[in-house]
Amino acid sequence: MNDRDIIQLYFARNESAVEETSKKYKKYCTQIARNILSNVEDSEECVNDTFLGAWEAIPPKSPEKLSSFLGRITRNIALNKYDYYKAKKRNKEFETILDELNDCVSSSDNVESQYEGEQMAESISEFLQSIKEDHRNIFLRRYWYSDSMTDIASRFAISESKTKSILFRIRKKLQIYLKKEGYVL
């Protein structure tokens, strides 16, 4: 079933919307959750919550891209769950991803650094559109899909060392870009 038909089911409040969504996107969402949580049970719970979240959000929302819409919900739920984890249970690979993002921010939580999330996402999109397509995809695989270095290297048929140095360079560029755009990082 195509995405438009699925969204119509949501608008008609037809419960098969969830079933169809699950058929098409369960694997996709589960992978995103597992990259953040690493725990199978928690990931499954997270994906079920995602579908429930979609049911509540559509309507009024009418997502343009159902895949990234669902993936985004999964990411946010998984991140909240991750925060509840004790240090022992945390996923080391995901911890590394967050550590890498520290390159771009000062890690302070003060009021001055509050930002408009949507506005910043727009700036990041603009930045990503300005860099090479393959660099953009590598960046998103790492920081949107939370893929491991090994997975990215094999997906793009490059060495892990190259992956790491590409990501490092993009993070530095992103930091400079966001500062130029006036964000207090």
Binding site: G71, D83, I124, Y145
Partner: protein, 302 residues
């Protein structure tokens, strides 16, 4: 803001970009291994050498020149093949080459398995470490290049055209020593000149043509040891590249082709194939001067 805020903000980027990244398997062609581009000019030099001196078997018999310019494939997947436990990258991203003098005759087998994630069976994942698997020219036949007895480079004949592939790593990603790499490439015997270029390889900054000097630099490279790099060190390499501190060492080979390494004097590292190696202080005591005063522009920001 903290890293989680940024992670969340990234989550809200344009859905189209996210969807593209979901199916993408695209990458740049490797910037190094860009030999053959000035083969036509070198052919003249080789010609002169033949005229001036009694022909050595190699200079008289084999010359390899590039026939086609390849634009990146639509999928952008790196063109690689596995042979004899080694991974080879297609030279010049799969450009066609012409052999003059000697044609490859010694067959080394046929590329049987498609490991291209777009076209291979099961996404090509099953055979990724198997010999005779490839992301390009599947069905092509492998040949020994007469002047490369150690198979550092091999030829691929596919639909009547020749392609070249150069060894870049072991298939199981186990370490390769600098000696192993340099011996297989037979660089000491085969390199005529070394040029130092900027990192991207479009600006020659220095030329070293004295044969004894060229040979001593290559001997010096034998002292490199496998670098077990930490994340921090990889980041330092990335930083050095973007700050214009990484140079390309281009070796001009007797057959008219080239091969390349990257060197970062400040970090004392050099790349051979897909790996980085650490060079001892003694190397830079001896050759550090050749990098003094070289200027290259930092890589463009975007």
């Amino acid at each position: 803001m903290n890293n989680k805020d940024l992670f969340k903000a990234i989550g809200d980027v344009d859905g189209n970009l996210v969807e593209e990244a979901n199916t993408a398997r695209r990458t740049n062609k490797k910037p190094y291994v860009r030999w053959g581009t000035i083969a036509a000019c070198l052919a003249l030099v080789v010609g002169l050498a033949i005229y001036k001196s009694p022909p050595t078997p190699e200079s008289a018999s084999l010359e390899i020149s590039k026939q086609t310019q390849v634009s990146s494939s639509p999928t952008g997947i790196r063109k690689i093949l596995n042979y004899n436990g080694y991974r080879y990258a297609f030279v010049e991203d799969g450009a066609q080459f012409k052999f003059t003098g000697l044609e490859p005759v010694q067959s080394l087998g046929t590329l049987e398995y498609d490991i291209n994630p777009e076209t291979g069976k099961n996404g090509g994942d099953n055979n990724v470490e198997k010999d005779y698997s490839s992301t390009f020219a599947v069905g092509g036949k492998l040949y020994e290049i007469p002047t490369y007895p150690f198979h550092f480079r091999i030829a691929v004949k596919y639909e009547q055209n020749y392609y070249l592939a150069e060894l870049v790593a072991k298939v199981n990603d186990s370490e390769m020593t600098a000696k192993e790499y340099l011996d297989m490439s037979n660089l000491k015997e085969r390199a005529k000149e070394i040029h130092i270029l900027n990192h991207v390889g479009n600006d020659v900054l220095k030329k070293m043509t004295d044969h004894a000097f060229v040979e001593s630099i290559i001997e010096g490279l034998y002292s490199a040891t496998n670098a077990d790099l930490t994340n921090k060190e990889y980041e330092a390499i990335g930083q050095a590249q973007s700050e214009g501190k990484s140079y390309q060492l281009q070796f001009n080979i007797k057959d008219g082709t080239q091969m390349a390494m990257y060197i970062i004097p400040e970090l004392k590292v050099v790349s051979m194939g897909d790996a980085y190696y650490q060079l001892p202080d003694a190397f830079f005591d001896q050759f550090g001067d050749i990098f003094v005063g070289l200027r290259q522009e930092a890589l463009p920001l975007y």
